[in-house]
């Protein structure tokens, strides 16, 4: 269970509230407004990859092509899809990706 840090507005009744989300479907979750309307919100994972760059190209070069591509796209967009979150964290931990 996870309480979002920001408020959302219910598309049905317009009420603003801070939702609590349970299970995630990818990067989204269903929430219910105080008036009982159910809708989907996006749940960012909070991992920032803004101002990041590849620092250790030698190690980065060991990764499969498609993975290299995916990591570069993540850095460019600043958004980490759920399935790449663990990999991005590990790359940061060992200094392959460095964020300022």
């Amino acid at each position: 269970m996870y309480r979002l840090s920001h408020t959302v507005r219910c598309p049905v009744c317009g009420v603003e509230f801070r939702p609590t989300v349970g299970y995630l479907k990818g990067d989204e979750a269903e929430v219910m407004c105080p008036n009982g309307h159910i809708f989907t919100v996006s749940v960012p994972n909070g991992d920032s990859v803004l101002d990041c760059e590849i620092r250790d190209w030698e190690r980065f070069g060991l990764l499969p092509q498609a993975t290299q591509q995916a990591v570069l796209e993540v850095i460019q967009s600043g958004k980490v899809p759920n399935e790449l979150q663990a990999l991005m964290r590990r790359l940061k931990e060992i200094g392959v990706v460095v964020c300022t």
Binding site: P64, N82, E83, Q85
Partner: protein
């Protein structure tokens, strides 16, 4: 592969094969896994000799899986070499082959001699878990197991939380309990599932425990009447003491509950199983070995889907006496 097994693969693993672009692409990917395994074994054998299989699970995985395929002799010498396959055209098959290539660059001898950089291996493991082919493999397995039929699930060794996340893409379990013995995995899995380690708020409980036996004690607090399914997708070889831990695990399975097993075995893809052992898996099993362990731990077979291709898949349940 025997005909019956081959028919079962087509029957039960169709979505996976289709995603791979058909049987031919799957075969090409498998042939690459064999080709790399032979290459790696040759390098390890030339450098470290046959005794490497006593010191390294990685070398043992290579040796056993190649011996049963008749590529190596008892003494470790190469008996025959597979022809280098064509590069696949399907993107999932490519990813699978590229994983082998990446691993090849770390160096089989380095890995067998325990000299490979652990962080690089951890990153490669993370890479594998995030690859598209692995995602399809997970989904196919969970759909085959009809995971939505089980409201309360216990997953020993959650790794980075990808399997749990895949379950939640399919269904919304009432309760999902998972543990890992590694702190980093517990944190990664919790982040993936947007929960906090050790907290058990909205039905997802991820925590750290040294063994499955310790984990079951904790899990019982969350699920006093037991769970409906224990999910073990490529998890058996991570258990330090499989029989003992599986015996403990049976105590968290409630009435009518099942143990859902998917496990790479030595009869599966030789290169891949060797790669996974390099990531820290503790054992290599044959499919019969898997069944022996489960029987010794007090389980009985409920249904076997596949013996080894692409990996062992079966449903077991605790033997009720």
């Amino acid at each position: 592969m025997k005909l019956v097994e081959e028919l079962n693969v087509l029957r039960y693993y169709k979505p996976f094969i289709e995603a791979f672009g058909g049987v031919k692409q799957v075969r090409t990917a498998l042939r690459w896994s064999e080709w790399y395994a032979v290459k790696w074994w040759e390098e390890v054998y030339n450098d470290l000799g046959l005794q490497s299989i006593r010191e390294s699970v990685f070398a043992r995985a290579l040796f056993i899986s190649l011996k049963i395929r008749d590529y190596v002799r008892e003494d470790g010498n190469i008996k025959k070499r597979p022809e280098k396959p064509e590069y696949p055209t399907n993107s999932y098959a490519m990813e699978f082959v590229d994983l082998h290539e990446s691993f090849d660059r770390i160096g089989a001898v380095n890995v067998a001699a325990n000299k490979a950089d652990e962080n690089t291996l951890a990153v490669l493991y993370s890479t594998m878990l995030s690859q598209g082919w692995y995602r399809i493999l997970r989904q196919t397995f969970l759909r085959l197991m009809e995971i939505e039929r089980y409201p309360a699930v216990f997953e020993p060794v959650v790794k980075e939380g990808h399997t749990a996340a895949a379950v939640m893409e399919i269904t919304t379990p009432k309760m999902y309990i998972g543990f890992d013995y590694r702190r980093d995995n517990v944190e990664l899995a919790s982040a993936t599932l947007r929960t906090r380690p050790g907290e058990c708020g909205g039905g997802i409980c991820i925590f750290q425990a040294p063994t499955a036996c310790d984990a079951v004690k904790i899990a019982r607090r969350y699920a006093p009447s037991g769970v409906d399914a224990v999910l073990m997708l490529h998890t058996l070889y991570w258990l330090l003491d499989p029989v003992k831990e599986l015996t403990c695990i049976s105590q968290i399975i409630g009435p009518g509950g099942k143990l859902l097993v998917g496990q790479q075995v030595v009869e599966s893809t030789p290169g891949l199983i060797a790669i996974v052992t390099s990531f820290g898996a503790k054992h290599v099993f044959s499919w019969k070995g898997v069944e022996q362990i489960l029987r010794s731990a007090g389980y009985q077979l409920s249904k076997r889907y596949l013996k080894y291709m692409p990996y062992y898949i079966a449903v077991w349940e605790p033997k009720r006496s």
